[in-house]
C-alpha cells in the first residue's frame, strides 16, 4: 500500500503535466482547424478600374488561392429600370470590376495589411475591402482563447513541477541512505542509482499508459466528437502514435531528470 502511494504521487504529478500538454495540443489543433474553416468562408473584395487577369491577381501574393470575378448584373439591374439600353451598355463599360479573393489560410492582421499594400501596387486596383473589423475580432478572440489555454497549461505545469520538486526531496531522503550504504561497499554510481532510475522509468511508463488510456477513451467518445462537429471542425483529438510518443518522451525525460538530480545532489554520509 505504501509502495503504491509512493508511486501514485509521481504518477499523478506526471499525469497532470501530460494532461496540460495534450489539452494544449487539442486547443492548438482546434484553432488551426477553425482557422481553415474561417479561411474558406472569408474573402476580400478588390475593385479595379479595368479588367484583370485571374492569373495576374494570383501572382500578387501567394496567400490568394482563388479569384472570382463578381458579376455586375445585380447592380445594373437595380439601376437600369429607368435607363435606355444604350445607356445600360455604357454603364456596363464604365462600371469598375469586382473581384472576390479567397485566401489559402486564415491570415493574421499583418498579412492582410501586406496583401492590401501588394494589391494597391497594381495601379488598376482602386479599392480593397478586407472586412478587417470582423476579421480582427474573430482572430483576436481565437488568439485570446489560445493564450488563455496556454497560460492555464503553463500554470498547471509550473505548479506540478513545484510538487515534483517536493516529491524529489522525499525521494532524496528515501534513497540517500541506500545509496550511501551501497557506496560504502564500493558500488559504482550506475549500480547505486539503478533502483532510482528503474522506479522513475516505471512511474513514467505508468503515467504514459494511463494518459494514453484516458485520451484514447475521450477521443473515441461520441459526446466529444459531437462537440467538435457542432463547431464544424474535425481534428485528431488524440493521435495514438504521435501523441503517445510525445507523452512517453516527456514523462520519461521528466522522470530521468528527477532521478539524475537526486543522484547529483546525493551526499555520502558515513
Amino acid at each position: 500500500m505504501k509502495s503504491v502511494k509512493n508511486h501514485l504521487s509521481l504518477v499523478i504529478a506526471l499525469l497532470s503535466i501530460l494532461f496540460s500538454m495534450q489539452v494544449f495540443f487539442i486547443v492548438d489543433r482546434s484553432i488551426e482547424a477553425y482557422k481553415i474553416n474561417l479561411a474558406s468562408s472569408y474573402s476580400i473584395i478588390a475593385v479595379s478600374k479595368k479588367q484583370l487577369n485571374s492569373s495576374d491577381i494570383l501572382k500578387i501574393n501567394k496567400i490568394i488561392s482563388h479569384v472570382q470575378e463578381l458579376s455586375p448584373d445585380s447592380v445594373i439591374k437595380r439601376l437600369s429600370s429607368d435607363m435606355k439600353n444604350t445607356n445600360v451598355e455604357l454603364l456596363k463599360l464604365t462600371l469598375p470590376k469586382f473581384y472576390k479573393l479567397t485566401l489559402a489560410y486564415y491570415p493574421t492582421p499583418q498579412e492582410i495589411k501586406e496583401l492590401k499594400s501588394n494589391l494597391f501596387e497594381n495601379n488598376s486596383i482602386t479599392k480593397v475591402e478586407d472586412f478587417s473589423h470582423t476579421h480582427d475580432t474573430t482572430y483576436k478572440f481565437l488568439l485570446l482563447f489560445k493564450n488563455v489555454v496556454s497560460l492555464f497549461a503553463l500554470v498547471v505545469v509550473v505548479v506540478t513541477v513545484l510538487l515534483i520538486f517536493k516529491e524529489l526531496r522525499i525521494w532524496q531522503y528515501k534513497h540517500n541512505e541506500r545509496m550511501t550504504i551501497m557506496g560504502l561497499f564500493g558500488a559504482a554510481l550506475w549500480l547505486r542509482s539503478a533502483v532510482l532510475f528503474r522506479l522513475a522509468i516505471v512511474d513514467a511508463l505508468i503515467a504514459s499508459f494511463l494518459a494514453f488510456g484516458i485520451f484514447f477513451y475521450f477521443s473515441s467518445h461520441s459526446w466529444v466528437k459531437e462537440q467538435f462537429s457542432n463547431i464544424g471542425i474535425s481534428i485528431a483529438i488524440f493521435n495514438p502514435i504521435d501523441d503517445f510518443l510525445a507523452i512517453l518522451g516527456v514523462s520519461i525525460s521528466i522522470s530521468i531528470l528527477l532521478a539524475s538530480l537526486i543522484v547529483l545532489w546525493h551526499k555520502e554520509e558515513a
Partner: protein, 223 residues
C-alpha cells in the same frame, strides 16, 4: 609481512581550523588484529572513516591496500572498498531489503553469480545463527541480530580488511561474544586484517593483537 595500511604525517580534520589527527605515523601489516582506543571525541571513528576513504586526509599520506587515499579518484576508491568489510555501530543496513539481500550486497557489487551469492548468504546466516530469520527485514530483528547481519555482510566477500566501529557498543553479551568470535575467526582462519575501534578491549580475546591509543591528536602504539 605486507603492509595493508601505511600512514605518513597523516593529518585529519573536518574543518580548516581544527585538526583531529595530527601528523600521525603508523603502519598495519596484513593479518594483524588491531584495536584502536581513545576517549570519546579523540578521533577513533574519524581515523576509521579515513581508512575507507569517507574522509580525505588533510595532509600527509595514507595508503590502504596499496591505494593512496590522498587525492584518490572515486573509481579507485570504489575498487578498494570492494575489498573492505565495514561494520558500523548503527549497523547501516538497508531497511527496504531483506537481511539476505543486505548480506548479499558486497557479493552483488563484486559481480558474484546469484547462485554463488545465495549459497554464501545461507552459509553466513548459519554462521551468525540467524538462518531462522531468513527473509525478514532488518527492522523485524533486535539490535544484536541486526549487528550480526552487518557482521555477515562484512564477511560475505572475504575482504582483505575488516573495519569495525564499536561493533558491540549497544549489544547484549550473547551477541557481543558472537561478534568477537566472528572477528577472531576471520583473522585467525582467513588471515583477514581486522581493525576495531572500541572503548574497551574485551578481556577474553584469544588472538594476538596490536593496540593503538589516540590522545590529543596523536596515535600511540601501546602493544
Amino acid at each position: 609481512m605486507n603492509k595493508v595500511i601505511i600512514a605518513k604525517d597523516l593529518s585529519l580534520s573536518y574543518s580548516s581550523n581544527e585538526t583531529i589527527i595530527n601528523k600521525a605515523n603508523f603502519s598495519i601489516s596484513s593479518g594483524n588484529f588491531v584495536f584502536i582506543t581513545g576517549a570519546s571525541g579523540s578521533g577513533k571513528s574519524t581515523l576509521l572513516k579515513s581508512l575507507f576513504g569517507a574522509l580525505k586526509p588533510k595532509q600527509g599520506s595514507l595508503v590502504v591496500g596499496g591505494v593512496e587515499l590522498n587525492g584518490v579518484s572515486r573509481s579507485k576508491l570504489n575498487l578498494l572498498r570492494r575489498h573492505i568489510g565495514i561494520v558500523f555501530q548503527d549497523y547501516k543496513l538497508i531497511k527496504e531489503w531483506t537481511i539476505d539481500k543486505n548480506i548479499m550486497l558486497p557479493l552483488l557489487i563484486n559481480g558474484y553469480m546469484k547462485s554463488v551469492a545465495n549459497a554464501q548468504v545461507d552459509k553466513l546466516l548459519k554462521h551468525v545463527r540467524l538462518n531462522h530469520q531468513s527473509g525478514k527485514y532488518p527492522l523485524e530483528l533486535s539490535g544484536g541480530e541486526q549487528q550480526r547481519v552487518a557482521m555477515a555482510r562484512a564477511l560475505s566477500h572475504n575482504p582483505i580488511l575488516i573495519l569495525a566501529d564499536e561493533p558491540t557498543g549497544n549489544l547484549d553479551d550473547y551477541s557481543s561474544q558472537l561478534i568477537w568470535n566472528l572477528l577472531e575467526g576471520a583473522n585467525s582462519q582467513l588471515k583477514t586484517t581486522v581493525i576495531v575501534v572500541t572503548h574497551h578491549i574485551p578481556k577474553n580475546i584469544s588472538v594476538e593483537y596490536k593496540h593503538f591509543h589516540i590522545e590529543y591528536g596523536s596515535i600511540n602504539e601501546i602493544r
